[in-house]
Every structure is written in C-alpha cells, then in structure tokens.
C-alpha cells in the first residue's frame, strides 16, 4: 500500500468515525485543539484504521508508546502526518 492509498484510507476512516466533521482534507487536524475528533473518536479512528489496513500496522500501540512531548511534530496531528507515519510503520514491519 503506497502513501496515497493510506491517505485515502485515513480520510475514509475519519468520515466513518466522525460523520459530522464536515469537509476533511490532508491538512485536517486529528489531535489538538483544532481537531475534528475528540479523544474517543481518535482512539476509534486508530482501531478502525488498523482494520482497514490489515495485519502488520499496530497503530494503537504506536500511539500508546508515543511520548507526546512535541504536539507540533506529532505523527498523529493531521491526516497527512498520520498517513506518513503509517507508511513508516508498514515499511519497518
């Protein structure tokens, strides 16, 4: 799965989990004060994405292990950064 396909999966998953989110794009925030998801929605997104992407991408563990020190550079911050993060996880798997 290339990064474009992963990004498409992330966008579909956001729309599934948050049907009231309005327009969702690559720069849409997933965490932080401007996020379209609350914490419950974000957790649901990660598990939903794991189901879409299949075996080998353990997003929820990756999230739990993330120290969250720098929000600006968080791989979970936007649709784009999450897609890139998933690509990295998949390639190291």
């Amino acid at each position: 799965m290339n990064e474009d396909e992963i990004r498409k999966a992330v966008l579909e998953s956001v729309k599934t989990v948050a049907p009231d989110a309005g327009p969702v794009g690559n720069d849409t925030y997933l965490t932080g004060s401007e996020a379209v998801l609350d914490s419950v929605g974000f957790v649901t997104l990660l598990v939903d994405l794991e189901g879409r992407l299949g075996n080998g991408v353990d997003l929820s563990t990756s999230f739990m292990e993330y120290d969250g020190a720098d929000e600006a550079s968080s791989p979970f911050r936007t649709v784009d950064s999450l897609a890139a993060h998933i690509q990295r996880l998949a390639s190291t798997h």
Binding site: T16, V17, A18, P19, D20, A21, D38, S39, V40, G41, V43, T44, L46, V47, D48, E50, G51, S60, M64
Partner: protein, 561 residues
C-alpha cells in the same frame, strides 16, 4: 431535540451519528460514565436538568445483571435469579421513562468473537448465549406495558457491522464497547423510532412496473413473456420482491402504480399472469399512461388524500428517479440496485415504514381504499348527494378512550394532518396522562358502511373549565371525510359537554400548512358560530346539535341521539 445517553461504557461515538442530517437531528448529552442505575432512579442527577426529550439506556449485560457475569465465569446460576435482576432493571427503566417522551433500550449483546462454551453455549443453566436470549426476552416482556419504553434490536446492528462491531482494543483503549458501524446503525434505528412515534412513517409505495415489479417490457413481450416466477433466479427474485411488498400492506402501508405503459396491457398482466403475487385489489390506485411520472404521483397522492411526505417511489430507471426527486423533493426516492436479485433486500433495508404500533385499521387499509373505489362507483350512479349518503348505510360508534383503543387513538392523533383542529403530537404515555385528568374527556369514533369497516377513524377530546368545554382535539381520518362523520362527532361532543355541565362548547382552530380542511368544515359545515378570534367556533349547549339523519349513531354518552 435533545437526547440523553446513559451507558456503562463510552458511548460518545454515538453522538456524531445522532447529529447527522437525517431527520430528526438530535443533540446528544451524556450521563456520567457507568452510573446507569443511579441516573435512572434519581431525576435530580444533573444530567436530567437539560430536560432531554428522549433517553437511550445502553448497557452491557454483565454489568447490569450480575448473575450474567457469573454465567460468564461458568458458575451455576438459577435462571430465576437472572430474570429477577432483569425485572429490577426494568423497574429502573420505568422510573426513568416518566421523565422523557421516549426511552430507547438497545438489547443486550455479547462480542461474537467470544465462543463462550461452544457446544454448550445454548444449554439451559450454563450457556451464556441461552442466558442472554432469556434476559432479552424477559426485558421485552417486562417493559411491554410501558408505552414510553422501546427496545431496539442491537443484535441486528452487531450482525450488520460484522467483525468491526466490537474490538478488545477499543475496550482497553477507551472503554468503547462498539465500533462506529454499530453506532451508525443505532442512530439510524433511534431516528426511525422517533419518526415512528411521531407518526412520520411513509404510508404509500408508488411502484413502476417494467423491470421493477416484473422482468421485461410488458408492452413489447405481452404478459405471457414477462420474467416472473418460474425457476429462474431473476423470475424468483421478482416474486420475492412482490411478496415483500405484500407484507408491507399487512402493516398498513398501501401500494400504487405509476408506470409508462398502455393501461389495458399492464392491467391485463396484473390480472392474468399466474405468478403475480400482487393483483389489482392490492393497489389502491394507479396512473398507467405516458405522462410525466412526477405529475402522475402528485395527482395520485391528491386522489388518496395523502401528503407527498407519505410517499416512497420505487423505479429501476435512474432518470425517472432523478426526475421525481427533483420535482417532488418530499417524496422519498431510494437509490435502487441495478442488480434485480437485490430488490427484496433494498426494500427490507428501508427504515421509513416503522410504526409504534400496528392496528387492525392498519392491516385493513388496502381493503378500505379498494372499497372507496366501489363507493365511488355508487356515488356516480346516485341521483343526489342525499341518495348517495343514504345508500352508504353509515354507522358511527362512539366510545370513551380506554387501554385497548389508546394505541390506535394516539396513532390517529399523530398521523392525521388535514382534519386536525390543533395538530398536537403526543406519545401514548403523554396522552394517557392527559386523558386521566378529571377535567378532560376523550371520545373515539368507529365508522363503518355497507362497503367497509373503517375502524377507529375519529378522535375528539374536551377540556372542561367551569361552564366552558374546550375542544382540544378534533381529528378525523381523511378516509371518512365528507360523509357526515364530522357533524356526528360534534353531536357527541355537545352531548358530552352537556353531561359535564358545560354551557358552551368552544373549538379553537390552530392553523398549520395542511389543516385547512378542518377550518373549511367549521366555517361551512358545522353551524358553530365563529367569533373570529383564532378563529374560535362556539356552540350554545342549551341548543340540541343533531347528528345527520343518514348516520346511525351508537354509544353517545348522554342526551338524545
């Protein structure tokens, strides 16, 4: 509309689906996490302060029924203990149901990945699946007489969601019991339930014929050449679709045809094809011609005295669907599968036919419309209106509101738009409470003639304050309008007011976009005096108000008939 979500797991994921565009939009608020029983029992808990209209109480079976947790631990549990705990929970639900107009309770489910005891899963006394089935059945029975409580089939949501329904990861990460697809299904059923309670169910399915009700173009191949029934998958699927439509008629939904065809050829197919499930008398009306379908639907709906918001239009042709959607936006035009083998499934998935009850009147509705056709034939042959009315042999039976007629009375109150004085919408529980007041009286009217028994089709209520009897509800089904039932109802109202010691009867008209006919009746056909305020219509009870001579009235509470 505000909905309070009470759960013993993280239910926030349901909120966005309740807020989506599908009617009615719902604004979710949340009770404190895992405080279900205290919240149900105590109306002073702050989450009730927002005065929610609706509540959803969604629980895990092992947290509400402790004996079920023991079943899961493979301990021996007496079924009576299990069911007693279910009864106790039902009592909590009843307490909370007095605070809202509707309380929805999803049935208990258990994650499908848990094989439980395998072969012993359904064994009485030890099997978790057996215990869960009994618990859900007991809960349904325990709340059956509580009109504000509605069980929802969560098992269907879980089955629809498949493997994504539940996830141990969701649970451990956020105490989230279900995935988003379950929440989406739940929101759709909650909204369908609210539409059902509000009397907004669709009542009429308008059908195309060629490649919708049967396979092929009847004008080209004749009825003998249609693909319908037999042993082909396609022929069988059309029969299955027709059977599914026929089942709808047993719930009070009526069928009609709008088709671009030559009428005689199409009706011949309906009458003569041996595999047709739906015959001419299963359709309350038809427009089979070469005119625009949107115009045909509008004309047909007008003939049936229904509103466009009552209609579902089913057609295999996407261009016809788009045209009707564009011209008649109130008509529901579902996307229809290209694969004809999926027609029955597409119909079964529609959530627009849900009703809170199914009455005898609902089941007989198609017959009523067919009788109307026969009645119209008599009308055409009669020499005068008086002769026609006399030929009908109309009987109206009046009875007080009681437990057995309450569901139909409330259904009538909530579904009737045209002959409805105040158009107030109340749940069964709310109407029962209102009628129980000493100052209030409710009469219901059953109507029949030589062609048909219409059942309970009229409702009138009075609220007496001193010497004034105010008509709160004056509701009559459009199926019996214009035959003297309206005056018969006023006759019963005046007699009832006299019995209660009132000096005058006052009916105040509350206008809506659709209840003009009730004003027309009071203005032109009631003989009540109008004082222009509201407007209000007044009758001095010292004067007799007779029923029309052609109506045989039975059961008027007092006075003379």
């Amino acid at each position: 509309m505000k909905v309070l979500l009470v759960a013993d797991f993280t239910v926030q994921g349901l909120g966005p689906f309740l807020a989506d565009h599908e009617s009615p939009p719902l604004q979710a608020t949340f009770a404190p996490f895992n405080q279900v029983v205290p919240v149900l029992l105590d109306g002073t808990v702050p989450c009730w302060s927002s005065k929610p209209d609706v509540a959803v109480v969604w629980t895990k079976p092992d947290s509400v029924v402790k004996s079920f947790a023991r079943v899961l631990s493979h301990e021996p549990v007496a079924i009576d203990d299990l069911l007693r705990e279910v009864d106790e929970f039902a009592e909590c639900l009843r307490t909370a149901s007095t605070r809202v107009s509707a309380l929805f309770v999803p049935t208990w489910t258990w994650p499908a990945y848990d094989r439980g005891l395998g072969l012993l899963n359904l064994k009485p006394g030890v099997g978790p699946a057996y215990a869960l089935m009994r618990m859900n059945a007991r809960l349904a029975e325990a709340v059956d007489q509580s009109p504000a409580i509605h069980l929802l089939d969560a098992g269907r949501w879980v089955a629809q969601a498949g493997k994504t329904a539940t996830s141990p990861k969701l649970w451990h990460l956020g105490k989230i019991a279900f995935g988003p697809e379950v929440f989406r299904q739940a929101a759709a059923d909650i909204k369908a339930g609210l539409r059902a309670i509000g009397g907004q169910a669709r009542k009429l399915v308008v059908l195309d014929l060629d490649d919708t009700l049967w396979g092929g173009i009847v004008g080209d191949v004749g009825w003998e050449g249609l693909n319908l029934g037999g042993h082909s998958p396609l022929g069988e699927s059309f029969v299955a679709f027709q059977r599914a439509l026929k089942r709808l008629t047993h719930r009070g939904i009526v069928l009609a045809v709008v088709s671009k065809n030559t009428e005689a050829i199409a009706l011949e197919a309906i009458d003569r094809h041996p595999e047709m499930v739906l015959r001419r008398n299963d359709f309350v009306a038809w427009r089979i011609n070469w005119q625009d379908k949107a115009q045909n639907i509008a004309s047909l709906v007008s003939e049936l005295n229904l509103g466009l918001e009552s209609v579902v239009f089913i057609d295999d042709n996407p261009a016809e669907r788009a045209r009707v959607r564009d011209a008649l936006p109130k008509v529901l035009v579902p996307e229809w599968p290209q694969d004809k083998l999926l027609y029955e499934q597409a119909l079964s998935e529609l959530a627009c036919f849900d009703t809170a009850t199914v009455s005898a009147e609902d089941r007989a509705r198609t017959r009523s419309y067919v009788s109307e056709r026969e009645r119209e034939a008599v009308k055409q042959s009669a020499q005068s209106v008086e002769e026609y009315l006399a030929l009908l042999g109309l009987t109206v039976e009046v009875e007080p509101l009681n437990k057995s007629n309450l569901p139909r009375a409330v259904q009538l109150l909530n579904k009737t738009n045209q002959l409805n004085l105040s158009t107030r919408r109340l749940s069964e529980a709310q109407y029962h409470e209102w009628a129980a007041s000493k100052a209030n009286r409710v009469l219901v009217f059953r109507v029949r003639d030589r062609f048909d028994d219409y059942g309970l089709t009229g409702l009138a209520s009075l609220s007496v304050d001193g010497t004034e009897a105010r008509v709160q509800d004056f509701v009559l089904s459009c199926r019996v309008m214009g035959r003297g039932v309206e005056r018969t109802m006023l006759h019963a109202i005046v007699e009832q007011a006299r019995e209660l010691g009132a000096a005058r009867v006052v009916a105040t008209y509350s206008p809506t976009p659709r209840n003009g006919p009730v004003k027309t009746f009071f203005d032109e056909g009631s003989d009540f005096a109008s004082d222009g305020e509201g407007p209000r219509y007044i009758w001095d009870v010292s004067r007799l108000y007779g029923a029309p001579p052609h109506v045989n009235v039975r059961g008027v509470p007092a006075g003379q008939q």
